[in-house]
């Protein structure tokens, strides 16, 4: 089961790095790059903040999957973080 706290945290980070978007537009199944306005600069800042919270988790596998169209959603990242940190085996 997906952890709502993780979802809400990731939504809040999207809002922090993209002030052009309104909270109601941030849906967990929308693409970070394609729908939520994270260009390369904002995406780097988003990831920097997420890594600041989740520390040593290697995100390479998620980056590779997320680079394919439509796979870079908040939901996908939340599931990856949960699995990688062992909170939702």
């Amino acid at each position: 089961m997906i952890d709502r706290e993780v979802i809400d945290y990731l939504k809040s980070v999207v809002l922090e790095v993209n002030d052009d978007i309104s909270p109601q537009d941030i849906q967990e199944d929308r693409s970070l790059v394609g729908d939520l306005g994270l260009d390369s600069l904002r995406l780097a800042e988003f990831v920097s903040r997420v890594k600041g919270k989740y520390g040593d988790i290697d995100l390479t596998d998620w980056f590779v999957a997320a680079a394919r169209e439509g796979s870079d959603t908040i939901r996908d990242l939340a599931l990856f973080l949960q699995n990688a940190s062992g909170s939702n085996p």
Partner: protein, 347 residues
């Protein structure tokens, strides 16, 4: 101990110079009017000026020239641009001893390849071993240097002439996307030549060890294809993130065989692919502002000139940081593949 050593290094540039403001002023309304905040976006590349083989304000004023026209410009421009840097490293050198010439360029095609025309012009030996490396992208200086290292292992007494020449500006095309606006704001043109021979320490920049790694699952995240009106680059915004995630392990695998650690490296010669990737690498390797200043200085003053850029950074380190004999440095660059390249050097 004799090692392959860069004994001479020289850069040269085409005559047209555009500041980022001049470029943006010229193309903001023409190409990027649909891209929000494009002027700020271009400033974020940190490029302040670039040399270009043609003036895009004239060449692209009314149309996007076909590939045939662009390649015709390349055919002349690549030789005009390379000539001073080649002459610079051959000046006073035993030209008849040069046994190999290896050249990289991914921004144009014609045959016989440019290295043949240069060898002819500079009257290099008729039995010269020539290698032309095309289309490998921003990391191709490493392919050049590795060919030189192999040549010097096989024929220790024959110096190698090396060159990287790129005319990235010939491939600017009208396309109203943020991705292309960033690419157009980032790339410039340059030629860098080096003379490499087996020398004792203290004679130049010794090439100690190289390491290459390919991330095969990422092959479609950075591409360089040929269209009817120019070469076309794509770059996933995830590329810098992937490389940053891999960089510490990559560096450890380069340095461990020499019993060195990241903290032993005094000089960082990092390809300025873009500000974010340099920042991310610096964070991962815990580098200081001073460590990455040569990279950012080249980015500001030259832009990303593809294959030769890492050699521009090396030239900057030699001129401005003046390394002490025995200092270690690491050269690194990245590109399509994704491919990560590095060489451990000793000054």
């Amino acid at each position: 101990m004799h090692r392959p050593t860069i004994t001479k290094l020289k850069s040269s540039f085409p005559k047209h110079v555009l500041t980022q403001d001049e470029f943006c002023d010229a193309f903001h309304h023409k190409w990027y009017s649909d891209v929000p905040n494009v002027r700020e976006l271009m400033k974020q590349t940190r490029v302040e000026k670039r040399h270009m083989a043609w003036d895009p304000r004239e060449a692209l004023a009314t149309r996007s020239p076909e590939i045939q026209e662009r390649m015709a410009v390349y055919k002349t421009a690549v030789l005009d641009m390379a000539r001073p840097s080649i002459a610079g490293v051959l000046e006073g050198a035993p030209v008849s001893d040069v046994g190999s010439f290896v050249m990289a360029s991914c921004t144009g095609y014609f045959g016989p390849t440019p290295d043949l025309m240069i060898a002819k012009e500079f009257q290099l030996r008729a039995d010269l071993r020539r290698t032309f490396i095309g289309h490998m992208g921003c990391f191709a200086a490493f392919n050049v240097l590795k060919v030189a290292m192999d040549a010097l292992a096989a024929r220790p007494g024959e110096p190698v002439l090396a060159n990287c020449s790129e005319t990235c500006s010939l491939h600017f095309r009208p396309e109203r996307t943020r991705e292309q606006a960033i690419i157009h704001a980032l790339f410039g043109d340059a030629s860098v030549s080096a003379l490499i021979s087996n020398e004792e320490s203290g004679a130049g920049v010794q090439l100690i060890r190289s390491r290459t790694e390919q991330l095969y699952d990422t092959h479609d995240l950075m591409t360089w294809d040929i269209l009817a009106d120019g070469f076309y680059m794509t770059l996933s915004p995830f590329v810098p993130l992937i490389i940053a995630e891999q960089i510490r392990g990559f560096m450890e695998r380069l340095l461990a065989p020499e019993k060195l650690a990241v903290s032993d490296i005094r000089h960082w010669i990092i390809h300025p692919g873009g500000p974010k990737i340099v920042r991310s690498i610096a964070t991962q390797l815990r580098l200081t502002e001073d460590d990455v200043e040569p990279t950012f200085r080249v980015l500001r003053e030259r832009g990303n000139c593809s294959s030769g850029t890492v050699l521009l950074v090396l030239e900057d380190v030699l001129q401005n940081r003046k390394p002490e004999p025995g200092d270690y440095g690491v050269m690194m660059a990245f590109g399509p593949g994704l491919t990560m390249e590095s060489i451990l050097v000793r000054f």
